[in-house]
């Protein structure tokens, strides 16, 4: 952008300096965690800790992955992946279907159903944890992927998003499809789904991060260490009295726990921003 408000000279440098300072503040905790994951426990327990990486990266990460704390981290990462994908795919599928029904069909209780789904916006899992836990326990779903995933997949936001998207799709397309003899199922698969592709992808990015970062729910539902997810499992590694896990291993675990969602954000930045902005509407 050029013109009257173009910045010159000292101002430009101050701007860059300010941004670099901001980035330094934001990146500092991660840098410290990274450095801590490459040194030994001895380097860390006598402050100050080093500020540059040491030579023990491989052994710390291997110890985290293979031994970890109460469960090896590879197992927790796998559980996180299953949970994140389960929540993401589950939410997208049930929301696509219900939005399709609400937009493209006239049926009894249509608006009632719509409002029932809408109301779930007001009930984040943190608010109803004890009774939800009891429901899941009484269904025998503790320590299972189903118990981890199902209570988190109802989503009014995704349903809204798809509803809004479907509303913008011209009626002529539907008419043309009907003239060609396509039924509702054909229309959904051949026309609606391909047209929603980028929106689904953008939502996928956001929901994956949401699913991966779940903490409270896995904390309650997975009492068996082999079902722990990495984001909640790292808590069990933190020093509390009878500490056995060393800080470098904990920090290696923290880095591993951050890596998948961070890669998703950086690698799919366009989709991520699109998903973020759209899901706020």
């Amino acid at each position: 952008m050029s013109g009257m408000v173009e910045k010159r000279g000292v101002g430009t440098w101050l701007t860059h300096a300010g941004l670099i300072f901001g980035i330094a503040v934001i990146c500092f905790p991660i840098w410290i965690a990274f450095v801590a994951s490459t040194v030994t426990q001895d380097d860390l327990i006598r402050p100050p800790m080093p500020l540059l990486p040491g030579p023990h990266l491989l052994e710390n990460y291997l110890e985290a992955l293979l031994t970890g704390g109460v469960a090896p981290v590879w197992q927790m990462l796998l559980n996180s992946l299953v949970m994140a994908l389960g929540i993401t795919i589950g939410k997208i599928i049930i929301s696509l279907l219900s939005a399709y029904a609400i937009v493209y069909f006239k049926f009894r209780f249509r608006m009632l159903f719509f409002w029932l789904i809408f109301m779930t916006l007001m009930l984040p899992v943190e608010v109803r944890i004890v009774p939800t836990y009891e429901v899941v326990a009484s269904l025998g779903l503790l320590n299972s992927y189903t118990g981890l995933i199902l209570p988190l997949i109802a989503s009014a936001t995704a349903t809204f998003l798809f509803r809004q998207l479907f509303m913008t799709i011209p009626d002529e397309l539907t008419e043309a499809a009907r003239v060609d003899g396509a039924g509702p199922v054909r229309f959904f698969i051949d026309i609606l789904l391909p047209m929603s592709r980028t929106n689904i992808a953008a939502l996928f990015v956001i929901l994956f991060i949401y699913g991966w970062n779940q903490y409270l729910w896995p904390l309650l539902v997975t009492t068996d260490p082999s079902m722990n997810t990495v984001v909640m499992g790292i808590k069990q590694m933190l020093p509390t009295g009878d500490q056995t896990v060393e800080w470098p291993v904990i920090m290696a675990t923290a880095m591993l726990a951050m890596l998948p969602p961070v890669l998703v954000v950086i690698g799919m930045q366009k989709l991520f921003v699109k998903g973020l902005v759209e899901s706020e509407k």
Binding site: I45, P48, Y100, Y104, I117, L121, V130, L219, V265
Partner: protein, 293 residues
């Protein structure tokens, strides 16, 4: 808005909404109903039967000093998190908006903390501020300031605020930047021609034009501080020392699961439910945008 062209089918639409409705009923309405129901009862000491107490749990709750203090803690915590995360993000967004070259690199470097889980953010900050070995705790001690958030409630609050705000900066930054870029450059140029300085232009033109974004982020950040920061609190302070960082969501958890006080926890759930309801209405009425999944 309605579709002009719709499909006719007797059972298909019900089949399509069934999965979503089923999940919603089993995991949303049934538990919420249970919370409301349980909030009117207290279990006997052996958990064998329950006694109806009406609004007794609520009376007990609001008569409880710790619960009332938890409200205050939540308010202080939310205001601090919201103000610090938003002001730092706005400052960065204003700078990034001024940059012509390399702005996408800056953006990339600033947005990724969004992907860090609150609980992991808690672990990172806990590590830096560990009273015995943490790098920042050490730096502070070199300056003659003793850091121990396990003993000092004020320090504990500062730490959970910092960790929570840190994670939320990227989100606010993205929306502020988008808001800034949507402001017509001609307006700002006109003011510049009139000789208004950068800060004068900012406070008299840019900031007022940015207010829809600001209001939207205000609600989003409050909701974030209320509910999504559980992981930060649980990893860093567990609500302590002496409940100084026990926000409402943490109290539902600690009373319900750690303290096994189901009646009180259910009553707290109902109170939170009302709070979320109010926040949601505020959000829809004034901002018409929405965050939670």
């Amino acid at each position: 808005m309605e579709k002009r062209v719709v499909f006719d089918n007797r059972w298909l639409p019900y089949l399509l909404v069934a999965p979503q409705l089923l999940v919603t009923f089993v995991f949303f309405f049934w538990p919420a109903g249970q919370a409301i129901y349980q909030s009117a009862f207290i279990p006997d000491p052996f958990g064998l039967k329950t006694q109806f107490v009406g609004f007794g749990n609520f009376e007990y709750l609001f008569g409880n000093r710790y619960y009332r203090e938890s409200f205050l803690t939540t308010a202080v915590f939310s205001v601090l998190v919201t103000v610090s995360a938003m002001s730092f993000a706005l400052w960065l967004a204003v700078l990034a908006d001024r940059v012509i070259k390399g702005s996408s690199a800056y953006r990339t470097l600033l947005i990724w903390p969004y992907a860090v889980a609150p609980a992991i953010a808690g672990v990172l900050w806990l590590f830096m501020f560990n009273p015995f070995t943490g790098i920042i705790a050490w730096m502070l001690s070199q300056m003659g300031y003793v850091w121990n958030h396990n003993l000092d409630g004020g320090q504990a609050m500062a730490l959970v605020v910092a960790a929570s705000a840190w994670k939320q900066i990227s989100y606010n930054f993205l929306f502020f930047l988008a808001g800034l870029q949507a402001i017509p450059k001609s307006v700002i140029e006109a003011a510049a021609i009139d000789g208004a300085s950068f800060w004068r232009r900012f406070w008299t033109i840019v900031f007022p034009l940015l207010s829809p974004t600001t209001f939207f982020l205000l609600v989003v950040n409050i909701i974030y501080a209320f509910f999504d920061t559980f992981g930060v609190i649980h990893t860093i302070t567990k609500g302590g020392p002496e409940q100084s960082t026990t926000i409402l969501v943490y109290k539902v958890f600690s009373d319900g699961f750690v303290g096994q006080d189901l009646g009180s926890s259910a009553a707290q759930s109902v109170v939170l439910l009302l709070l979320v309801g109010i926040l949601t209405v505020v959000q829809f009425r004034f901002i018409e945008r929405r965050v939670h999944y």
